[in-house]
């Protein structure tokens, strides 16, 4: 019997999405994947495919136009999954809080497991955060995690959950906006 959990622990695939950040934290994530900080020694690979990823690294305060995309990417990822918010502006809105085109922080839309502070978050912090997320991943179940907003009903396709199009359009489901 394969111990899938063990394998997952040693080969974490991440999905990185920029939801309106200033690139500062994005290039620090890139630096983490480079040879000096070498996140890959933990088996972490950056693959831009939500359907194969275990961890969503998200940067930026969530602009109005990236909301649906964030939720869509989140719902497309299979469980168990962890969400790591990188950077102060991702956690709370940071310097962008209160600007007319941003939501203050990503946790209004999707549940966040690890918050990494700093503007920009240093690579050391990011490595710590990712490893923390890895620990949390072990205790997660396969139960479906719902985003907090913009969520339609689950639709089934021959016993499988059809993950396409679960994210609703802004203004359709929530009264706000």
């Amino acid at each position: 019997m394969f111990k899938l959990k063990n394998f997952r622990k040693r080969s974490l695939w991440i999905l990185h999405y920029n939801a309106g950040s200033c690139n500062g934290c994005d290039i620090e994530i890139l630096a983490c994947l480079g040879p000096t900080y070498d996140l890959e020694r933990f088996g972490v690979l950056n693959r831009g495919n939500p359907k194969q990823s275990d961890m969503l690294l998200i940067t930026g305060p969530v602009t109005y136009r990236s909301r649906e995309r964030v939720v869509e990417l989140f719902t497309q990822m299979p469980e168990p999954k962890v969400v790591v918010a990188v950077g102060s502006c991702t956690c709370t809105g940071g310097v962008f809080s209160g600007m007319y085109n941003v939501e203050d922080g990503v946790d209004k839309y999707i549940p966040v497991d690890v918050y990494i502070p700093g503007c920009a978050a240093t690579p050391e912090y990011i490595i710590d955060g990712v490893l923390k997320g890895l620990e949390l991943l072990e205790h997660k179940s396969k139960e479906i995690v719902k985003p907090k907003k913009l969520f339609k009903k689950l639709s089934f396709h021959k016993d499988h959950i059809d993950r396409r199009g679960i994210a609703g359009k802004v203004g359709e489901n929530d009264g706000k906006d």
Binding site: Y17, N18, A19, G20, S21, C22, N23, G24, C25, D26, I27, E28, L30, A31, L33, G34, P35, T36, R47, G48, N49, G60, P61, T63, R65, S66, R69, L73, C89, G94, V95, F96, G98, M99, Y100, N101, V102, C119, A120, T122
Partner: protein, 366 residues
């Protein structure tokens, strides 16, 4: 085979989330048998509304740190361009030493930004080892920035009236040493980029732009210099001592991906030379001067960011909060040229061409 098959237009989207993109941008390519015939672009995904906040929520003393958060790669150029504008409005005098330190940081930033772009080009060419090696060699430069300013990306180094810190003799020594190392590495890379098939020959003639086209479509920055145009704002700046520290305009001919890479590589060498001159010839004096008053009037300032010309327009009415902050960013100006280049290229080359522009969408959308 008969040749009567009608060419069908196919629409292929690239983005908003894509592995070869760092930032969300959406291109819609209309293709005919692999050839791109038309491109539509949508760049507004990261629009945050910084301009509005700068003229409503933040005081003019704070705006310098807010505009730095427009872009993490050219944070320092944004705050410098803004600060230069406000200093002109306030009639502030900045010491020669502060000017030198500002130039030093801007050039260090250019080095690391260009290296990141080059490594991204390598990655999109499928040359993962080179990507890693360039990223590794970029780290010492980031280390220098941290040693001088205390932060790796968002320096918050330039304030109205001067800079926040200076460095001691030990750090100066380290800067010289790291610059020497980096120079050797870059010379190696130049050879590699010129002779390695997967980086040079493959890219020759791909994504080319003629000098007339560059002029017509308002190309700026490395994109224009790769076509042979002498476009560099650093030539005529009055508020930074570029002439004294040994600046030369780098141009190449060809206008293709290869030429753009070469422009970036030679510019890194030029920046290293400037940094060395600055550290060795740093004038004595204070780093901060007191500035009083509130901005009054209008001003336009320009500065050469790693990607091209950056322009700020400021308007103040003798109040704490500015009336208008208008930012024109380099990538925004190059989009017409970009679209022109894409036409007639193979779809398979699209990510490589895109990376060679080094687009910065968080600048564009603000």
């Amino acid at each position: 085979m008969s040749t009567t098959t009608k060419a069908v237009d196919m629409q292929i989207p690239l983005g908003a989330q894509h592995i070869s993109l760092l930032e969300p941008v959406k291109f819609t390519f209309t293709t005919q048998n692999e050839k791109i015939v038309d491109v539509g672009s949508d760049v507004g995904f990261v629009h945050r509304g910084v301009e509005h906040a700068c003229s409503s929520k933040f005081e003019f003393k704070q705006v310098g740190f807010v505009v730095a958060r427009i872009c993490g790669l050219c944070a320092i150029t944004h705050s410098m361009c803004y600060t230069a504008g406000v200093e002109k409005l306030l009639d502030a005098q900045v010491t020669q030493k502060a000017k030198y330190l500002r130039t030093l940081l801007i050039e260090l930033d250019r080095i690391h930004s260009h290296m990141l772009c080059l490594s991204h080009t390598c990655e999109n060419a499928g040359f993962e080892a080179m990507f890693m090696s360039l990223m590794g060699d970029r780290e010492p430069v980031m280390g220098l920035q941290e040693a001088i300013t205390g932060n790796r990306v968002q320096f918050d180094y330039i304030t109205i009236g001067g800079v926040t810190r200076e460095f001691d003799a030990q750090t100066a020594q380290k800067i010289i040493q790291v610059l020497g190392q980096t120079q050797k590495k870059i010379e190696g890379y130049i050879e590699e980029f010129q002779n390695n098939w997967s980086l040079s020959k493959k890219f020759e003639g791909i994504g080319a732009l003629s000098p007339e086209g560059a002029y017509e479509y308002n190309a700026i920055g490395p994109l224009a210099r790769a076509c042979g145009l002498q476009v560099d704002v650093r030539n005529g700046l009055d508020y930074l001592p570029y002439k004294e520290v040994g600046f030369t305009t780098i141009t190449q001919t060809g206008g293709d991906i290869h030429a753009r890479n070469m422009v970036r590589l030679y510019e890194i060498l030029n920046s290293i030379k400037m940094c060395r001159n600055i550290v060795e010839g740093l004038p004595e004096g204070e780093i901060q001067t007191k500035v009083r008053g509130k901005p009054q009037g209008e001003v336009i300032t320009r500065l050469e960011a790693p990607r091209g010309e950056l322009m700020y327009y400021l308007k103040g009415e003798n109040k704490k909060v500015l009336d208008r902050v208008r930012i024109k960013t380099p990538t925004f100006a190059t989009i017409p040229a970009m679209i022109e280049i894409f036409k007639g290229q193979d779809y398979a080359d699209a990510p490589a061409i895109l990376a060679s522009f080094d687009p910065c969408l968080s600048c564009t959308a603000k």
